[in-house]
Amino acid sequence: MDWLLNNAIVQDIIELARPSLFNLYFALASIPIGFPLAVLLAVMKNSSNSIISRVARTYIYAFRGSPLFIQFFMFYSIMLAFNLSHWKPMGIADIVMHPLFIGPMVLILNTSAYAAEIFYGALKTLPKGEMEAASAFGMNRWQVFKTVTWPNMIRLAWPAYTNEVVFLFHATALVYFTLPVINGQKDLMNKAGEMFERDYNIFLHFSVAGLYFLTISMVIFFVSGRIYKRLMRHMDTGEAASFKLKPNYMR
């Protein structure tokens, strides 16, 4: 047992276990808000009202067209600029200036733009006949959305959305490059960097950090594949069986 624990790789895996939870936290905290926001933005972009459509279009373009790295710096410095005048007097400075708050906040803004573009693409390829059929049945717009638009959109967008979730998870590596570390709450990259400065063994520490990212990414692909199978269970297209861990790598 001792030889196992004294193994350098095993020691690294143990040491990086807690930091990996921070990456997981950033991703998990962003998805529950980012997902509905993305659906909303996609519906807005698809809206026939030109003002609503333009607002969503601009938002999506801006956040997809600029680096997340810059977005982190920008929003952190905006929050800092408001700190003395607003957050401190309101007594919420400790919460809203915390990386555990700002990190998910920026990630939500970013991922909702990327995911909205995916959902928008799905909305554009919805089967027209089904929607017309629903309208012909006398359904109102909300009912059409609930029974036709929504389920079809999710099914069409799911593989690409999975890809986006993995990219979001990878993007969590940027949080502590831009925000201050508080109470030694370090994420994988940060901790790996610290361990590198200790003994200069970049191959070991970065590989183990990479291994954590790889493993969690694979888990995301696996879980999402199971969900996709369930979403497609009534479809006799063979599509569900052919969904492999083969995303298109593109964000």
Partner: protein
């Protein structure tokens, strides 16, 4: 020249305009504008290398020699599970260490090598990197990481080249190597272009990481310029303006994206001339 312009502005547009003009043309700001070159160099050469690595990676993936095929597959798969920023930091640091390792074998005494606890084992083996060396490494790093993305695109595009073209080439007596380079690679660009435009956008955004490699790029200058200044003799007194400078960078990158989109649209139209592409016409 800038001074005369400033005096002219003060005379014609008032003191206020001249003050702002002087502020935006002071040494630090000029250095900021000049540092855009790092971003553009990294994007341009990174993209060139990415295309090169992309074609090589895709070629390796369809090689007849199994180990080479596995290497290609490993290379193209690595971007799937690991963040780009990790590779971006890893390659330069690993290369630096490798060079220092070789140098330490040659320059350090046996005693130093045996007892050293820090890295490098002796001072003589320390490699002090300059900005240009870091920039070269950043380009190579971007090339390797986004080359893996490009390899996936190129691999898919090669499969889109009509089989008839390749069979015709074979019937004319071209050998495998000629068929691959002169027909498949020649013709795949038009199919690869939309995917490559996507890779370019990713790479462009990744050029914001240059400051992680100690390069004084636009991000680092924005941070320095926006930092609050309370000393009148250092320059204009202002509170924390960093968010304004980062907002400019935010707009700058969006502008680059708009320009890139235009250029790729034009390229796509040009490359598709005379081809009956699926989905067009």
């Amino acid at each position: 020249m800038l001074e005369t312009l400033s005096i002219w502005l003060a005379a014609n547009f008032g003191e206020q305009t001249a003050t702002w003009f002087e502020y935006f043309t002071n040494g630090k700001h000029l250095a900021w504008y000049a540092s855009v070159r790092f971003t553009l160099i990294a994007a341009f050469f990174g993209a060139l290398l990415a295309v090169l690595f992309g074609v090589l990676g895709a070629a390796a993936r369809r090689s007849g020699f199994a180990p080479l095929r596995w290497l290609g597959l490993g290379y193209t798969t690595m971007v799937r599970g690991i963040p780009d920023v990790l590779f971006f930091l890893f390659f330069p640091l690993a290369f630096e260490q490798l060079v220092e390792f070789v140098m330490s074998r040659r320059l350090c005494s046996a005693e130093e090598l045996a007892t050293a606890v820090a890295w490098p084992p002796c001072q003589a083996a320390q490699w002090y990197l300059t900005t240009s060396e870091y920039l070269i490494m950043a380009c190579v790093s971007l090339g390797i990481v986004y080359g893996a993305f490009a390899a996936n695109v190129v691999h898919g595009a090669m499969n889109s080249v009509p089989k008839g073209q390749l069979e015709a080439a074979r019937a004319y007596g071209f050998n495998n190597r000629q068929i691959f380079w002169n027909f498949q690679v020649r013709q795949m660009w038009v199919y690869a272009l939309p995917g490559l435009s996507n890779v370019w956008m990713l790479l462009l955004k990744a050029t914001s990481f240059l400051s992680l490699l100690q390069i004084a790029d636009i991000v680092q200058w924005a941070d320095r310029l926006g930092a609050p200044n309370y000393l009148a003799r250092v320059g204009m007194v202002h509170p924390d303006w960093r968010w304004k400078y980062y907002f400019v960078l935010f707009l700058f990158y969006i502008l680059l994206t708009v320009i890139s989109e235009r250029v790729f649209d034009w390229l796509q139209r040009r490359a598709g001339r005379g081809l009956a592409l699926h989905g067009e016409q």
